[in-house]
C-alpha cells in the first residue's frame, strides 16, 4: 500500500467520523465545529487528489465563510439550543430514504459508467498543477467549455445578493 493511500484512509476515516458526529451530537455548536473538521478533511482529500486550488478554496469558502456564519446564527439562539431534546422530527424516514437513494445513485453512476476512472493518487510535479489551475481559469471563460454555466451561477449569486438586500433592507 502506498503512503498516500494510507494517508487517504486515515483522513477519510476521520472525515466520516466527524461527519457522523455532526448529525449525532446533542449540542448544535459542537455539531458545527465537527462540521468544520469534516470540511477540513474533505480539503485534505482534495490535496491528495492534487487539486490544491480546490482544497484551498474549500477552506476559504466553506470554513472561512459558511461555517462561521452557521456558528454565528446558532450563537444567537444559545438558550433555545440547550433545552432542545429532540434531534429529529417526523420527516426523518423520508430524508434517510433520499440520502440513501442519492448515495446508491452516485456510487452506481461512478461504478458502472464505462469511461469512469477513479482519480489516481500518484504524485506529479507542481508545473502540471499550475497548468491545471490555468486550464481551470481558461475553461471557465471559454464559450465552448464552461462559460455558460459559470455565467448562470454568477447571475444566480447576484439574484441571491439582491434578494438578501431586498429582504433585509428598510421598508420605505
Amino acid at each position: 500500500m502506498d503512503i498516500s493511500q494510507i494517508i487517504f484512509l486515515i483522513v477519510a476515516t476521520a472525515t466520516l467520523i466527524s461527519a457522523l458526529m455532526v448529525v449525532t451530537t446533542r449540542n448544535l455548536v459542537h455539531g458545527a465545529l465537527w462540521l468544520i473538521v469534516a470540511l477540513f478533511g474533505v480539503a485534505v482529500v482534495f490535496v491528495l487528489l492534487e487539486a490544491g486550488f480546490i482544497a484551498v478554496v474549500q477552506v476559504v469558502l466553506f470554513i472561512g465563510a459558511i461555517a462561521i456564519l452557521i456558528i454565528f446564527a446558532m450563537m444567537l439562539t444559545r438558550r433555545a439550543l440547550s433545552d432542545e431534546p429532540h434531534q429529529t422530527n417526523s420527516q426523518w424516514p423520508i430524508s434517510a430514504l433520499v440520502a440513501a437513494a442519492s448515495f446508491v445513485a452516485l456510487t452506481g453512476l461512478t461504478s458502472f459508467l464505462p469511461d469512469w476512472q477513479w482519480p489516481s493518487l500518484a504524485a506529479s510535479d507542481s508545473a502540471q498543477l499550475s497548468g491545471n489551475l490555468q486550464q481551470l481559469g481558461y475553461a471557465l471563460v471559454q464559450p465552448n467549455q464552461f462559460a455558460l454555466p459559470f455565467q448562470v451561477a454568477s447571475v444566480l449569486l447576484i439574484v441571491a445578493l439582491i434578494g438578501a438586500v431586498a429582504v433585509a433592507g428598510e421598508k420605505k
Binding site: I3, N27, V29, H30, L33, I36, G52, F53, V56, V57, V59, V60, I63, G64, A65, A67, I68, L69, I71, F72, M75, R78, S126, A127, L129, S130, L133
Partner: protein, 439 residues
C-alpha cells in the same frame, strides 16, 4: 559530500540542508521517503520555533516604542533596557492558576487558544525567507494565507462562545462584524499583486516565492500603492489592533472574547495576537516590499533573511505608530468604512489595474517590468486623486446638508468640526462622510 566553500557560507541554510540530506540519504542509506519526512519535520520545527520566539522580542519592542510615543520609558527593570521583561512575564503566566469558569464548554474552551496560535504559525509555512528558503512553496500560497486566517476567526468565536460570559460572547459577535467584513477587501486587494506578478512573468503568480522573485527589478508597492494601503489597513483590522480593536475594547466589553482566560491560556491568546501582528508585517514585506530582495542577495542568499526582517520590523514600527496615534473607531463607522469605502475602492482598483496591465502588455510590450510599474503607479495616483476628490465632494455636500438642517449660525460648531476632523483618521472622516447621507 557537498563541498564547503565561501559561497556556501553565504547560503548557509541551503548548504546545511544539502549536507543533512547527503548524510541521511547516502551515508546512512535511508530511503528517499524517510529522508524527505525528516527534512520536512526539521523545517516545521525550525520555522515554528523561530515564529514562536519572535513575540518575546516584539512584545518588548512594542512596549518600548509605545512608551516613547507616550513620553515614558517603557519596561526598563528586567535585564538591560528591560529586554528580559517578556521572559519574566511568560514565567509569571506559567505560574498563574488555570481557571475554567463554571458552565464553560471545557473542550472548546481549551481548544480555542491553541487554534488561535496554530492558525498564525501555519501562515509561516509559505513565507519565503530567502532564495530556496521556504517551508512549502505551494502554487496557491496567497490563497492559503487567506484560508488559514479564517481559522483564527473560528478560534475567537470558539473562545467567546465557550466562556459562558456575556462580554466574551459580545466580543465573539463583533468578530463577524469585523473580521469577516474586512476579509472581503483584503482578498480583493491581494488579487492585484497576483495580476502584476503574472504581468512580470511569474509562472505561478500566487506562489509567495515567485511573487518575491517577480519583484527583482521593482517592488510591488510602486506598481500597486493603493493595494498595499488597502492590504495593510485591512490587515490591521484582521489582527484586531487599534484603531480596530473592537474585539477587546476595554472600555466597552472589558476584555472581549478572552475575558475568562487566565494563566498560560491567556498567554496563548496574547502570543497568537502578537505573532499575528508581526506576521501581517512579514506578509506586507513579502508581497509589496520585495521580501528578501535587496542588494547582493544573489551572491549571499543569507542576506535575504536580514532584508526580510528589516522590512518587516519597519512595518511593525508603522503598526505600533498607528496603534499609539489613532483612537478607536466606533462600530458603525467601522462597518461603513469597510462596506462603503474599502470594498468599492478595492474593486475599482482591481478592475483598473487588470485593464491597465493588460493594455500595457498589449500595446507597449517593450517597456519591461519597470515601465509597467511606472505606468501602474501613474494609474494608481490618478485613481487615488479621484477617490479623494469624490470623498471631499461627498463630505462637503453632507456638511452643507447638516448646516442647512441645524442652522448655520451656531457658534462653535464649525470649530468643533475642525477638531474632530483633525483627530480622525482620513478613513474615519471618509466613513463619516459616506455614512452621513444615509440618514
Amino acid at each position: 559530500m557537498p563541498e564547503f566553500t565561501l559561497q556556501s557560507l553565504g547560503d548557509l541554510i541551503v548548504y546545511l540542508g544539502d549536507l543533512l540530506r547527503f548524510l541521511l540519504g547516502v551515508q546512512l542509506g535511508l530511503p528517499e521517503l524517510v529522508v524527505g519526512l525528516i527534512m520536512n519535520l526539521l523545517t516545521v520545527v525550525i520555522v515554528a520555533t523561530v515564529a514562536l520566539l519572535i513575540p518575546v522580542f516584539t512584545i518588548w519592542l512594542e512596549r518600548k516604542v509605545a512608551g516613547r510615543f507616550q513620553d515614558r520609558l517603557g519596561p526598563n527593570r528586567v535585564g538591560p533596557y528591560g529586554l528580559l521583561q517578556s521572559i519574566a512575564d511568560v514565567v509569571k503566566l506559567l505560574g498563574k492558576e488555570d481557571i475554567t469558569p463554571a458552565g464553560a464548554d471545557k473542550v472548546v474552551y481549551n481548544l480555542a487558544p491553541l487554534l488561535s496560535v496554530v492558525s498564525v504559525i501555519a501562515i509561516w509555512a509559505v513565507i519565503p525567507f530567502g532564495p530556496g528558503m521556504i517551508g512549502a512553496d505551494i502554487d496557491v500560497g496567497i490563497l492559503y494565507v487567506v484560508a488559514i486566517s479564517g481559522l483564527g476567526t473560528i478560534a475567537i468565536k470558539m473562545g467567546g462562545w465557550s466562556s459562558n460570559n456575556k462580554f466574551a460572547l459580545l466580543g465573539a459577535f463583533r468578530t463577524v462584524a469585523q473580521l469577516v467584513s474586512y476579509e472581503v477587501p483584503m482578498i480583493v486587494a491581494l488579487l492585484i499583486p497576483v495580476i502584476i506578478a503574472s504581468g512580470f512573468g511569474a509562472r505561478h503568480p500566487m506562489s509567495m516565492q515567485e511573487i518575491v522573485i517577480a519583484q527583482g527589478n521593482v517592488w510591488f508597492i510602486i506598481a500597486a500603492p493603493l493595494a498595499a494601503l488597502l492590504f495593510f489597513a485591512t490587515s490591521i483590522a484582521e489582527i484586531g489592533r487599534a484603531p480596530f480593536d473592537l474585539l477587546e475594547a476595554e472600555s466597552e466589553i472589558v476584555a472581549g472574547f478572552h475575558i475568562e482566560y487566565t494563566g498560560m491560556k491567556f498567554g496563548m491568546w496574547m502570543l497568537g495576537e502578537f505573532l499575528h501582528a508581526f506576521t501581517i508585517c512579514v506578509l506586507t514585506a513579502v508581497i509589496f516590499l520585495g521580501g528578501w530582495q535587496g542588494p547582493g542577495v544573489n551572491q549571499w542568499p543569507m542576506l535575504g533573511i536580514f532584508y526580510l526582517f528589516a522590512k518587516s520590523f519597519f512595518m511593525y514600527f508603522v503598526v505600533i505608530w498607528v496603534r499609539s496615534t489613532l483612537p478607536r473607531i466606533r462600530i458603525d463607522h467601522l462597518l461603513s468604512f469597510n462596506w462603503k469605502f474599502l470594498v468599492p475602492v478595492s474593486l475599482v482598483a482591481l478592475v483598473v489595474t487588470a485593464l491597465a496591465q493588460k493594455a500595457m502588455a498589449e500595446w507597449l510590450p517593450g517597456i519591461g517590468d519597470v515601465g509597467q510599474a511606472v505606468g501602474l503607479f501613474i494609474v494608481n495616483a490618478i485613481l487615488m486623486f479621484a477617490i479623494v476628490e469624490f470623498i471631499r465632494r461627498g463630505a462637503r455636500e453632507a456638511r452643507a446638508q447638516a448646516e442647512a438642517e441645524h442652522g448655520s449660525g451656531e457658534p462653535g460648531s464649525g470649530a468643533h468640526d475642525e477638531v474632530s476632523h483633525g483627530e480622525a483618521s482620513p478613513g474615519e472622516a471618509a466613513a463619516a462622510a459616506t455614512h452621513a447621507p444615509a440618514h
